[in-house]
Assembly symmetry: C2
């Protein structure tokens, strides 16, 4: 037994920034544009004065401009939005459509989300896409030539986890999170719940935490089910975090700080909130820390744009229609 | 000038009860069942302990039993509901499906609403039906043989207004509210907003009132537009009620009482809230008063059931498939 007091080792946490992850995806996007032979047009609809939405729109414009995608921001009154989306659906010039929510900020927005035709929906909010995501159906056609579209923020988080090798590419595609336990703090219908479902569908054991309770998303022992199931538990955050390999937070509050002391040593920590949900002490515990993912989300949006454009081409080719 | 004080005339208000309206629709339902040659099966899913939902389910069962419709109530956990609906979609024995909301009571319910296949959706909540309703598209097929399905409570109110001749059958179908001004107090996504849209699509000038503001729904001067448009106004309840021929309330609160003194003399008053939004003094002002519409809603549900079953038959016949 030694009584010598050792200096603490220097933090060994690797901080990974969104820009590094975005880089790789941008390469893919550029290749697609080249194959396409012309710049696709993304139309954004802004029908509110929400500063966050306006910021997101301005970021989209900038990223499009830098990467050879045409972007048109159409500012319309909220009462004219439905008709304007319908017109853009019908316009062959328009490659993809994004609507900056909230518009009405009520359940009327859920109706509007279904107005954008799925052939132009770069956000992945069409019911057909959401259904495929929850049901773990990855393609739109039996020939598996057209991939289903995933919602941007959850997909951006997946791309981050792939980049930092939480996804183990030794395992077969579709099971690459088998053996991993993940806690997701946020169960919104826009990010937290679809994310928990995606991770569980890829083989992870997922604890989905919101203010009410902890839900468990899993494909079961030996991941024998082909899709996840979810159920309520009586577990608390302090029960699930110590056994989690990965902790992902998305609490939209300046005041909220994740209780870092619960983390197991060497956990992977990812924050997708625009607020800093982890304090700086996270670096004393985590092996990898991703402080923000916004830049990945925008690039994933472009990737989805190229995907819907290519899906449309393949669909037309399959129908023997004109192939651009 | 006379100084004789006259006795007030006795109230001349005609009170119309839902049962009288339901009667006529039931006749239609019975005729359809006879044409069909066998009792269709309605499956209800109950995944909550909400007493109002349970009450609605029990009412549905009773009304089905009385009218030759088979009803099966399936109680399932909320986490199993999605899979159970999918199974019922695929089951040829099942004629129609109703889900008793709320299930999660969050925006997750909006996702669930799109799980029921539109071919079995007796509630009219499928996006394709809602889209047709707002866009004033009345049929599903170009041959106009299959009518689009309308949500039960708004449709029940329309049936009430037809019964009491607010709809003027002298006017051409689709324009029968031309010249009428209607105030609707409630703008929920489930009843108030679709109702305002339906009434405006049928030619009325509609003021849609909620806690925030008054919106105006109209097909414009001379009802020249083929569908309504809606916009915010700076008007107040006291501006719009005195010029309204019809006032429809749906405020789910025991405390709320509509300010009857604003009514124009001889207005038609309809309440669809389960609470009594009008005090008894409404009979001193109104020409017609409909205190509740619940019984019409249930019968409209059966009518929708028969309609989806018949639409499916027509669809199959048109495709050259088997015709039952």
């Amino acid at each position: 037994m030694s009584t010598i007091v050792e200096d603490p080792a220097p933090p060994t946490c690797k901080v990974v920034y969104a820009s590094a992850v975005a880089e790789g995806i941008l390469g893919e996007v550029k290749d697609s544009i080249e194959r396409l032979g012309r710049a696709p047009l993304l139309v954004g609809f802004l029908a509110n004065v929400d500063p966050a939405a306006r910021m997101y729109a301005s970021w989209t414009g900038k990223t499009c401009l830098q990467n050879g995608v045409r972007f048109e921001l159409r500012e319309v009154g909220k009462d004219d939005l439905e008709e304007n989306i319908i017109a853009a659906n019908a316009d062959d010039e328009v490659g993809g459509i994004i609507v900056y929510y909230p518009v009405f900020g009520s359940s009327q927005d859920a109706y509007l989300q279904q107005i954008t035709s799925k052939e132009k929906d770069v956000e992945g909010l069409s019911h057909a896409y959401l259904f495929n995501m929850y049901q773990n159906i990855r393609f739109l056609d039996p020939e598996k030539s057209q991939k289903s579209i995933l919602p941007c923020t959850p997909l951006a988080i997946i791309k981050v986890l792939e980049h930092i090798s939480v996804y183990n590419s030794i395992l077969p595609y579709g099971n690459r999170l088998f053996g991993k336990t993940v806690t997701v703090v946020n169960r919104s219908e826009i990010v937290g719940r679809p994310l928990a479902a995606l991770l569980a569908n890829d083989g992870a054991s997922v604890y989905s935490v919101d203010i009410n309770n902890v839900q468990y998303f899993t494909r079961g022992a030996g991941i024998r089910r082909r899709q996840h199931e979810a159920h309520d538990t009586d577990l608390k955050l302090e029960d699930v975090v110590p056994k989690s390999d990965v902790v992902i937070t998305g609490v939209p509050s300046k005041e909220y700080k994740f209780p870092v002391e619960l983390l197991k040593d060497g956990a992977v920590c990812v924050n997708f909130s625009s607020e800093k949900n982890f304090g700086p002490e996270v670096k004393e515990k985590a092996s990898i820390y991703v402080p923000a993912i916004g830049k990945v989300t925008i690039v994933v949006l472009l990737r989805n744009l190229l995907r819907v454009v290519e899906n449309r081409q393949r669909g037309e080719a399959a129908e023997g229609g004109e192939s651009l």
